[in-house]
């Protein structure tokens, strides 16, 4: 009966399909952005190496997967605490020293870090494009009415929601979250409460690296990556954070979805327009809502 379906019906089906794929892609961008958002929200630190840390984590998952022949999900579970430790140490011993009234030192140091990570990965893994193998899951789809939804894109989106709910619960309900917010408000007075701001910052970056690991799992299984892929992930993360509004985690999901939908629509019109369409959507939001959709941060 397919051939008798009216053309207009097929067109609208395609639009729905494009929108759904775009929304699900937004989940990946939200995962990129959430880690960046936490670090900025708590320490006012703009981490220019964020994208490279995602790629670093993807290589870590790839290495664990191929070394021990593990399922990538299991590898990510192993990589997560290692990445937490790496983030903790990075913040405690390096990035904490850059924090202060001047915003330039953290930018310079994380920019340098970005170059170091890229070249380190190039040295260790060569410039080849890699992918984390997933087997049959890679192409698995669920038929849902008019559209087929990929299992992995769906898992990506659901993971983004779980990550955001989890982070919000931690930040607004748990004692450590109170310490995050208090330290972010006023580190000197936080010290009078028995809080050690240096360790709180290290824990926050460690947490961001766990989110980075989740992002890396879905990035690495979805598409090819190579040591130089970090900076463009950073751009997507930035754009999602800005579209959503600084300081709001749900905003990063909205920002990610705006970016994802714009990209898939652009790609439908012409595959070469995919990336450009995302940037144009970002600029359009910036022009009409300079503070994003859900601005939270006051400064």
């Amino acid at each position: 009966m397919r051939s008798t379906r009216p053309i207009s019906g097929r067109a609208s089906m395609n639009i729905i399909d494009t929108l759904v794929q775009g929304i699900l892609l937004g989940g990946l961008y939200a995962l990129f952005a959430a880690g960046l958002s936490i670090v900025f929200g708590i320490m006012r630190l703009v981490n220019l190496a964020h994208g490279d840390l995602i790629i670093f984590a993807a290589f870590a998952i790839l290495t664990i997967t191929s070394m021990f022949g593990l399922n990538p999900f299991l590898s990510a579970l192993i990589a997560a605490p290692l990445m937490f430790a790496a983030g903790w140490l990075l913040q405690y011993f390096l990035l904490n020293r850059t924090l202060g009234k001047d915003i330039l030192p953290p930018l310079l140091v994380t920019f340098g870090l970005s170059i170091i990570i890229q070249n380190g990965l190039l040295e260790g893994f060569a410039a080849d494009s890699r992918r984390v193998p997933l087997g049959s899951l890679e192409a698995a789809t669920i038929p849902l009415g008019a559209v087929n939804i990929g299992v992995m894109p769906l898992l990506t989106f659901l993971s983004a929601i779980v990550v955001i709910v989890g982070l919000n619960t931690l930040i607004y309900r748990a004692p450590i979250g109170r310490a995050f917010r208090a330290t972010s408000d006023d580190p000197v007075t936080a010290g009078l409460m028995g809080i050690r701001p240096q360790r709180i910052f290290a824990t926050a970056t460690g947490l961001a690296m766990v989110v980075v690991t989740v992002a890396a799992l879905y990035l690495g299984t979805r598409a090819n990556f190579d040591p130089s892929a970090g900076p463009s992930r950073l751009i997507y993360a930035f754009e999602a954070v800005i579209i959503g509004g600084l300081g709001s985690l749900w905003g990063t999901l909205v920002g990610g979805v705006v970016l994802g939908v714009a990209q898939t629509i652009g790609a439908t019109i012409n595959p070469e327009w995919q990336i450009l369409a995302g940037h144009i959507a970002f600029l359009a939001v910036l022009a009409f809502k300079p503070r994003g959709f859900f601005p939270r941060a006051v400064d």
Binding site: P175, R178, A179, R181, A182, S184, D185, D186, V188, T189, A190, G191, L192, M193, G194, I195, R196
Partner: protein, 239 residues
């Protein structure tokens, strides 16, 4: 028993020396007031004791141990809590969260908990879910005091708690001090208001230009002596 003692305590901000050899003592169970005009060094003294400013280890002794070089989180864990000048509530936290964070560094129990703080300042229970900074100045000061008490301190440092508050509100806040004393805490009060200081303190220290200019029991020091120690008349020539 001497609980807290400073010994020839000095402090400086860059080239500016703020404290010139301060010697004060606080006995267990005692309330001591430090009075003096703006810029006398009272807040600097509090910041040094609470670990916000680092000092030489032996310049501050607590329970006989040198604590001068410890950072503020270590100081509060040893049992010295501060109500900072200007209250310094955390704007991102509700009233209740501000109180809870006061107990962050000190696991373990004592006389003070959320329920006891709400007994002491019942208005805070009504406002518990408001942002801390949405409260009136007096209520914010109650939160700041409650927050410090949540760590169950042996020594409570109160820096300028009456500053900027209406007299009736100040009276309300000082009305809580007998209960705080009864819980076993020793108290250091920094005040510009001599009347309140004399009423609540067992002993007073007067500070001027980074030095102690007068000390004695509240009942024994004369207003004239305080006046000259406070403003410097007759103590030494100004330049």
């Amino acid at each position: 028993m001497t609980l807290l003692q400073t010994h020839a305590l000095t402090a400086r901000y860059g080239d500016f020396q703020a404290l010139f050899g301060i010697d004060i003592t606080l006995e267990a169970g005692e309330t001591v007031a430090v009075i003096g005009a703006n810029g006398a060094g009272k807040t600097t003294l509090m910041r040094a004791i609470s670990g916000v400013l680092a000092s030489a280890p032996e310049q501050i002794l607590f329970e006989g141990q040198p604590i001068g070089a410890l950072a503020s989180p270590d100081i509060v864990m040893r049992g010295i809590a501060m109500v900072p000048e200007g209250r310094k509530l955390f704007p991102s936290l509700t009233v209740e969260e501000n109180l809870l964070i006061g107990a962050y560094g000190t696991k373990g129990s004592g006389a003070w908990n959320l329920a006891r703080i709400y007994d002491l300042f019942p208005i805070l229970k009504e406002r518990r879910h408001s942002p801390g900074t949405a409260l009136s100045g007096g209520q914010q000061q109650m939160v700041a005091i409650g927050r410090a008490l949540m760590s169950n301190p042996k020594v409570l440092l109160c820096d300028e708690i009456s500053l900027g508050l209406a007299p009736v509100v100040i009276k309300d806040i000082y009305a809580a001090f007998p209960q705080i004393k009864a819980s076993g805490a020793s108290i250091v009060i920094v005040e510009q208001d001599i009347g309140h200081a004399l009423k609540v303190a067992d002993r007073i220290y007067c500070m001027m230009e980074g030095r102690i200019t007068l000390s004695g029991r509240s009942s024994e020091v004369s207003r004239d002596a305080i006046h000259s120690a406070y403003f410097g008349a007759g103590v030494h020539e100004h330049h």
